[in-house]
Symmetry: C2
Subunit: 161 residues, 2 copies
């Protein structure tokens, strides 16, 4: 993208990637979102699917509620205490391309075709789902060499050395 | 996607997302890749751009070389010792949609339009770069409700409870 001379004039302290990673930049948080994309909603379901420590799962679910990727609602089954259910918000649903990007990359680079544990297909036509890099004027199939990065209105200059 | 009854019949132990996250599921690793997408190649450049601890940066660069996302080559400047330079491989370059996905999400959900520190544009036409979810038969602009997940050839059954 931009050359590294320009890059080093700007601070990465307020980068949107950095800030996104403070919320979804932890393995278990992304795995919980993966399970929510599959339709799971309850603590016991997430725990069964992920097999992680209960206190870790609890803390990550709380983080996702605090940052409004999940809403928490209560339910009570016959003879049981009140429990919490977690539903994706639009903010949470829009993490999907990141998870599909990781799935595509893992399928391509870490698995042989006959080792792939999951196919994600288009409900309408059965085609395989992929992430694509596109531009707002309709060009698709873009890669690194097609891109140029420019400082936006919120860019901060780096501190001089 | 698939309903949660089906989901819990299958293990997530060998999921491509899980395996991708063992390599790129750590904040600093993704930030180093972001800098490599900007064109940075040298330890001192990464250190200056990221401001992280040198031993952490060293360990993450080694991880990226070990997993073949970077190649390491040597260079020597006049009067200096031999130093290492890091270049993206195709495997590394293909993490780009994940990073652009994080950038788009952070720009949309964590920043006001006038706070965005970076614009990534199509070199050809100037359009804004975005990730899109598409299918192999040419449908684009897909979202969660358009997708269905099915066990692939490598799917593992969950252990019975």
């Amino acid at each position: 993208m931009i050359n590294h001379e320009n890059r080093l004039l700007f601070s990465s302290a307020n980068c949107s990637v950095t800030e996104a990673l403070t919320i979804v930049g932890e393995k278990w948080t992304l795995l919980i979102l993966r399970e929510a994309f599959f339709g799971l909603r309850r603590f016991e379901e997430f725990h069964r699917a992920l097999g992680c420590a209960r206190n870790l799962l609890s803390a990550r679910l709380q983080l996702l509620v605090d940052h409004e990727l999940f809403t928490r609602t209560e339910y009570r089954e016959e003879g049981q205490r009140v429990r919490a259910e977690y539903g994706l918000t639009q903010k949470g649903r829009e993490v999907l391309p990141v998870v599909i990007g990781l799935l595509n990359w893992g399928d391509h680079w870490l698995k042989a075709p006959n080792e792939r544990p999951l196919h994600v297909r288009h409900r309408g036509c059965g085609g395989n789902i992929q992430v694509d890099l596109v531009c707002s004027r309709g060009h698709s199939g873009l890669s690194l060499r097609d891109m140029v990065a420019k400082p936006g209105p919120g860019a901060l200059m780096s501190l001089p050395e």
